[in-house]
């Protein structure tokens, strides 16, 4: 379920972010409690709580006293914006570096992008 690449609480936070972006978790929807999370993934509840705290600090989740944790209204938007910010650096530049490494000319890449763009607009 979780690997050693980063702390588990980070991975929990990332998973929830992913669920929000992909629409599995909707805005103002209640998320599972930390205890439910802990039981489901068989992890220490303090770890789950830490992950939730991370998201609360970032404004992705908010707490309703006595009820539970909810996805905040602007969560999806702000996450998408975050991803957009790093898109060129993390995705495009990396793709270009890979292409360079294996010897795919940039021209070919541009042709490919144009053909997809043409298909979409058709």
């Amino acid at each position: 379920m979780f690997d050693d690449r980063s702390p588990i609480y980070q991975q929990i936070a990332d998973k929830i972010k992913e669920d929000i972006i992909s629409g599995v978790l909707l805005e103002d929807e209640q998320v599972m409690s930390t205890n439910q999370y802990a039981a489901f993934y068989r992890i220490n509840p303090a770890t789950a709580a830490k992950g939730f705290q991370l998201l609360t600090d970032e404004g992705i989740l908010y707490k309703k006293r006595g009820i539970g944790m909810f996805v905040s209204g602007e969560a999806r938007q702000s996450l998408l914006a975050q991803r957009r910010d790093v898109f060129f650096e993390e995705v495009v530049d990396k793709m270009l570096a890979e292409a360079d490494k294996i010897g795919v000319p940039v021209g070919d890449i541009i042709k490919r992008i144009e053909s997809v763009k043409g298909r979409d607009e058709a």
């Binding site: 609480y9 220490n44 509840p45």
Partner: protein, 293 residues
């Protein structure tokens, strides 16, 4: 009720052999702690002292602010389950459970019955004739149903098959969330259980070498792989465990805080930074001379 544990300069000697050297640590209580150590590292000795099975040779132990040895009020708050337990000869499973029920102040009969059913424990059978796995199941049943404020499991699930072990982890976690208490798990099956620990203590040769939150140990270990010279340059001045060579490529395990700048520098020099599991870290930290062969 959560009880904290404080240990100060604890020493245990068996004749001329010192099993525990000046152990000092403090556990806040109310958490699930992992205790890791190789065979003969002093793990069981430490746990025996916490449970008043043994008296220490020097130093002090305090549980909930009081010394536990022969302290009736404290001894009944600490439940220590070892793999095969200390069953009375001729006791049936039912008798063993009944004895435990009469001794532990927080014992929950209903929960015990549920666990008996879950593990399919044969109530009428003699406890000493049970299979190893069943003995372990009886042990963890008693440990969990005791609801003792300090519950210690010393590799008590070793004899169980994987499904039974996973049942135990599930039960442990759920009951801990419902009834928070201090739980110490000592284990060799590190990777299976590591995600349950909030804090980890590592004992080696009678000394405490690590006491940290699980998450921070995890982030402190990195495997650095790349051209040998670059790896050596990067590893300068850092704590290094273990190294492996394959041709011109070298891989070492580095232990310590690595900030983002250091990570970027590593990548720019063509090094790959990978994660290190808690188990690997443990193996590295407790390596002995004879292990390489």
């Amino acid at each position: 009720m959560t009880l904290g544990i404080e240990v100060n300069k604890l020493q245990l000697r068996y004749g001329s052999f010192t099993a525990l050297h000046d152990l000092t640590f403090k556990l806040d209580g109310g958490k699930i702690y992992g205790l890791l150590g190789r065979n003969g590292s002093g793990k069981t000795s430490l746990l025996s002292i916490l449970a008043s099975f043994r008296l220490q040779s020097a130093g002090s132990v305090s549980i909930g602010g009081e010394a536990p040895f022969e302290n009736a009020k404290m001894m009944e708050q600490v439940c220590f389950i070892q793999e095969s337990g200390h069953m009375n000869e001729g006791f049936s499973v039912r008798d063993a459970l009944s004895l435990a029920a009469s001794c532990w102040p927080n014992w929950d009969d209903a929960y015990a019955a549920k666990l008996v059913k879950l593990y399919d424990l044969p109530l009428k059978k003699r406890a000493t004739t049970l299979s190893r796995g069943m003995k372990s199941a009886l042990g963890v049943t008693i440990g969990l149903a005791s609801r003792a404020p300090v519950t210690i499991f010393d590799e008590s699930y070793l004899g169980m098959d994987a499904p039974s072990r996973y049942t135990f982890y599930e039960q442990l976690l759920n009951d801990y969330m419902e009834h928070p208490r201090t739980i110490i798990l000592s284990t060799h099956l590190i990777e299976e259980v590591a995600s349950l620990f909030e804090e980890v203590l590592i004992i080696d040769k009678g000394r405490l070498i690590v006491h940290e939150e699980t998450e921070s140990i995890r982030t402190k270990g990195r495997a650095v792989t790349g051209p040998a010279e670059a790896v050596d340059r990067f590893a300068q001045g850092k704590t290094v465990f273990g190294e492996q060579k394959l041709g011109r490529t070298k891989s070492v395990t580095v232990f310590g805080e690595l900030d983002d700048a250091a990570c970027e520098r590593a990548i720019s020099e063509g090094l790959e930074l990978g994660p290190v599991s808690l188990q690997d870290l443990f193996v590295h930290m407790t390596k002995r001379k004879g292990d390489e062969q």
